[in-house]
């Protein structure tokens, strides 16, 4: 049988049990909503404007660098699995791969894009 079936069971049970706990809280808790209670919490002050603020573009740069590195490391896992049985050539391939990867990081760094301005 497919081993992923068991992983799927973990997903299902992992959703059912927290859902059960939250449902229990919903069943036993009081339900007395009022406009003040349901207003957005801003340390007791009346909320100003809407909550979906526009945020710093800097976050996007970090997410971008992350995306590229994430994909590259995924390439490295099959390489690492086979490393024990391969010659020096394969090791050097991987090292070249990582060096190209680091070049990107160095570029971003040198251009001052990793600074939290």
């Amino acid at each position: 049988m497919n081993e992923w079936l068991y992983v799927g069971l973990f997903f299902i049970v992992g959703l059912i049990i927290p859902a059960g706990a939250i449902t229990a809280g919903w069943l036993f808790g009081p339900k007395k909503p009022n406009p003040v209670k349901q207003s957005t919490y801003e340390c007791g002050i009346e909320p100003v404007g809407e909550g979906w603020v526009q945020f710093k573009a800097q976050y996007y740069i970090f997410a971008l660098v992350f995306l590229v590195f994430d994909v590259e490391t995924v390439f490295l896992f099959p390489w690492a699995v086979r490393l024990g049985g391969l010659g020096l050539f394969a090791v050097l391939e991987g090292i070249v791969f990582i060096l190209i990867l680091i070049a990107g990081l160095v570029y971003t760094w040198r251009k001052g894009m990793l600074e939290w301005a």
Partner: protein, 169 residues
Amino acid sequence: MTGEQLLFLIVGAVTLLSGLMVVTSRNLIHAALWLVATLFGVAIVYTLLNAGFIAVVQVVVYIGAIAILFIFAVMLTRKEMRDQGAQANSNWWAGALVAAGTFAGLFFLLQGWSGFSKTAAAIPSGYDAIGQLGDALTSPAGYVLPFEVASVLLLAALVGAVYLAFNKK
């Protein structure tokens, strides 16, 4: 109908429905979250195809990185997210026709092919897909070039994207 087929039909239906939601929902954050559902459905399809590594990579790369990047981008261009105007352009019906035509054409072409309803051979016991993949990616007779070119491609993408997105003061 076997359990596997039933599972495929459910997963496929959910994937396609959330795909439809991606291209129709008004709120772009919702569209991005529906994209996550679609991608997760595709990951389950990979596990049905016994490609466990690809399925995990799908979750790591698509849900963990690409979907997050989409949500960040929507937040950065927020004005349009709350836009209540038309989300589809005036030629949307032509787009729908082209899409339906593409599907019909693909279906017509494929069903005439002899290998269309082929079934898969059983996976031999002890078959190690990740190891095979590692061999294929590193052996000079295999796919060393795509392996290294992917690195260069990503370097180019990183440099270009960071340069574009960086706010020069």
